[in-house]
Amino acid sequence: MLFQGIVIINYSLQVIWIVLQLLVAIFLLYKMFKTKRYNLLPLILFFILSSIRIVFLIIVPSLRPIYLVLVQFPSIFLIVFTKLIFYRYKKSPFKIFLITLIIVRTIDFIIRLNFNISIPMTTELSESNLIYYYYILFSISISYLLSHGWLGFISIRYYLSLRSEKIAEWLKKRYFLIGLSSFVYCINIFVYYLFPYTNVDIFDFPNVIYSYMLLGFTIFYSVGMFIAWIMPDKLKRYFDKNFQPIEETEFIEEELMERINRERKNSNKNQ
């Protein structure tokens, strides 16, 4: 009875984060076509692949090689998104990150395919293959750090630099939420190191605890991203409650130039 309860709660929580991420992807897809901001595409693909890959594995387990291909791409899409949004036409560590991820994830794919390794393990692992298990741990860590870690770091840095600027508060909060969610998600790397490689059932103790910890991080991330991207107008107004919206004055050209000259004269006098 207890076991069944644990399984049902686990699957229910899985459904929650999958639905949240799919909703974000659909919303961003709509916004992408509406605003013609095609640089959102890598983020949309990230959310779609992150969420459907697990569904794919459950529905068609016989197509595991395809699942293993899908697993490799989300982190790559995420760093492409970070590059396009924050560093287009600008120097960044993007190329180094991309090449590193492609190499690491290619080896990851080969190992998973040939040695049937996953974390937590679902089959017995022989001691001679332990090095491959540790490689997968390394691959997961590098992927999280370069993709979520980079996006989290940049978003928080922008939030801090824009905090005192006279722009809408909800926009600053969007940077903050993306940064916080990404950082927290990055922390869950350590949980992967806790799974004993000898334990092959996800619902055995202590795997079940670590699985719930991973789920907790994933749900926090999904909720954070959901609020950050699909921010309802009501919430935007709440964030902007202390922000005085700037009243736009429409000038005709002569009037504007006259005003600028007058203001500059007054400013020079006051200096």
Binding site: K31, R37, I85, Y89, I167, I246, R259, N261, R264
Partner: protein, 91 residues
């Protein structure tokens, strides 16, 4: 548009005018560069770089601002540094 508020605020400090006037100057430069029918919402990073380098620079020269090139370079750096605002505010 938040990116125009942001650039307007910087420009106002650089040339000693109000933020309303500096935003007006930016919008005038955009309209001169792309024509009156180009929506501000559709501007990308390259568009911002283009009007700052052309029509806004010419306007600053016409206003006899001595260090106009420094201001233009500073605005170009700011646009590149804060390019994420252009996409983030659209969603």
């Amino acid at each position: 548009m938040q990116i125009i508020y942001y650039l307007g605020h910087i420009l106002s400090q650089k040339i000693g005018i109000s933020t309303a006037a500096s935003r007006g100057l930016i919008k005038l430069a955009i309209s001169e560069e792309f024509g009156p029918f180009k929506s501000l919402e559709t501007l990308g990073v390259r568009d911002f770089q283009k009007f700052i380098n052309n029509t806004l620079k010419k306007r600053l020269m016409d206003l006899n601002i001595n260090n106009y090139q420094k201001i233009v370079d500073f605005l170009l750096d700011e646009v590149l540094d804060n390019q994420s605002i252009i996409t983030m505010e659209k969603i």
